[in-house]
Symmetry: C2
Subunit: 293 residues, 2 copies
């Protein structure tokens, strides 16, 4: 209920621990965590206390917290139930907008009653959405959803923009591939392809896809390319549920293969080839979409 920061932080800590493979009995310090997460010790402490009440950590008075059992998927799932809180509303808004349940231009009060949320939560969600360029405060009353990817023209424009930005990102002189991240992504794609088509949840594919494009952009070592790609992903996220049913299993498979080919080219250090593949990949997606509509 309480929209506290420590809820979020519980999730952050667990993810951190999983990604770094913390060993059982390893000390989980409050100060270093606070520094890494960019918050003060107070909310970290609350999160740690919470976690120790769940038996994931244990507290040794005088020397802080220790990891009590390994951090696996089960643990994360257990704790992310209530961790949701704030992000929840954000998703709901995107969802309901994408499916037309809320109109392009909408008043704050209308949203309030529609979702039965608290004003504060709503404001936070809108703040985030507006930072992502998805919604804008309009003069006078109300909020205006950016004439986003809800019309065919906008989607074609989006593809054109992404093609320009992402290929340019790959062509930056400082471009440098992170081998470890590349391997992780390759695995994620291969795992996805092994699944039967019916088992691929919409947001799984979206997640992998978004991460692929963002990571590629991040290797440009240029924050603006990365930011632009992230913005596009945020817009696309808004329509993932609507668009997905139109994506055939073949198309998803094809996309995965495209991605893998691009990763191969990058791993081999052949950037011109990666650029060409990426460009073709995006044009093809635009073309497919165009034909379907």
């Amino acid at each position: 209920m309480s929209s506290g920061l420590h809820r979020e932080i519980i999730g952050d800590i667990l993810r951190l621990g999983r990604d770094e493979g913390w060993a059982v009995d390893a000390p989980v310090g409050e100060k270093p965590l606070a520094a890494r997460l960019g918050v003060s010790r107070t909310p970290v402490r609350r999160a740690l206390i919470d976690l120790s009440e769940r038996g994931i950590l244990r507290r040794e008075l005088g020397s802080g917290f220790k990891l009590n059992r390994p951090i696996d998927a089960a643990v994360i799932a257990e704790c992310s139930n209530d961790a949701a809180g704030g992000a929840e509303l954000y998703r709901k808004i995107l969802n309901d907008r994408a499916s037309g349940l809320i109109p392009l231009s909408v008043t704050e009060n209308a949203l309030l009653v529609h979702f039965g949320a608290s004003r504060g939560d709503l404001r936070r969600a809108l703040l985030r959405l507006s930072a992502e360029g998805i919604v804008q405060r309009q003069r006078g009353h109300g909020w205006q959803f950016s004439e986003s990817l809800d019309n065919p023209q906008a989607i074609l424009e989006s593809y054109a923009f992404r093609e320009a930005v992402e290929t340019a990102a790959l062509s930056q002189p400082d471009y440098r591939v992170d081998g470890a991240a590349l391997e992780r992504m390759r695995n994620a794609h291969e795992a996805l392809m092994r699944k039967p088509a019916s088992e691929i949840a919409p947001d799984m594919w979206f997640q992998v896809n978004a991460e692929f494009h963002e990571t590629l952009a991040s290797w440009s070592r240029n924050r603006f390319f990365l930011q632009a790609v992230k913005r596009q992903n945020a817009l696309r996220r808004m329509h993932q549920f609507v668009d997905f049913p139109q994506l055939t299993p073949e198309q998803i498979k094809q996309s995965c293969e495209d991605h893998l080919a691009i990763l191969d080219a990058l791993a081999a250090g052949d950037r011109p080839r990666a650029v060409a593949l990426l460009s073709a990949h995006l044009s093809q997606a635009a073309q497919d979409w165009h034909n379907q509509n």
Copy 2:
């Protein structure tokens, strides 16, 4: 004082009238204005009443308002004194941040006492800044100015990004030049070049420059290219006061000439040449900046 919408609208109406050259005695209708400005009639009406109290309009009961005297620079200046209101704080924040008076990470209350503003105005300003990606809410308390164009690395990245985006914009298949707008810009540049260097105010050059790049991008008929350029301009605006003194009159003159050459190429329908010139223009600017720092 009152941060009302009608203050803004006064300015909007005057600018509209000037740009369209409204004749004396022409009717100034409340409903059409409301529609064009995207607000309801109420604030428009208040603005019109305000303007008629200043003698700029006159009211004819039963048939609305008429223009009483031509809209020239003096009129606009007269009314923009208090029209400022909301936008004022926005500028002040950018200013004080650019000159280091407020730190990168700052709390809402600190800003409140620093500017002596009302909480509401402050929130509005921050909302706008955050929509432009200049500032972000940070977890816990306070706001974080995006590690924006305040370090050399970021500026170089910005130039690289702009070069990619703007040249790509010019290369879009749907690109179409608007002759009238092109002529207006050409005039603005020539007027600027006729002035002695000492009389060029920082924001005059910035204004012309920003409009040039935005207009070029807008001709791509792709909202995302335009949006990206606008975002970059917003970031750059933040540092116009700091950067400008470093710009020599020769550099400004050179920039103007570059811009004019690009406009010429576009007017002649030679887009590849325009792209090459634009690319050279931005690389050169990056180079100059790099050498100076």
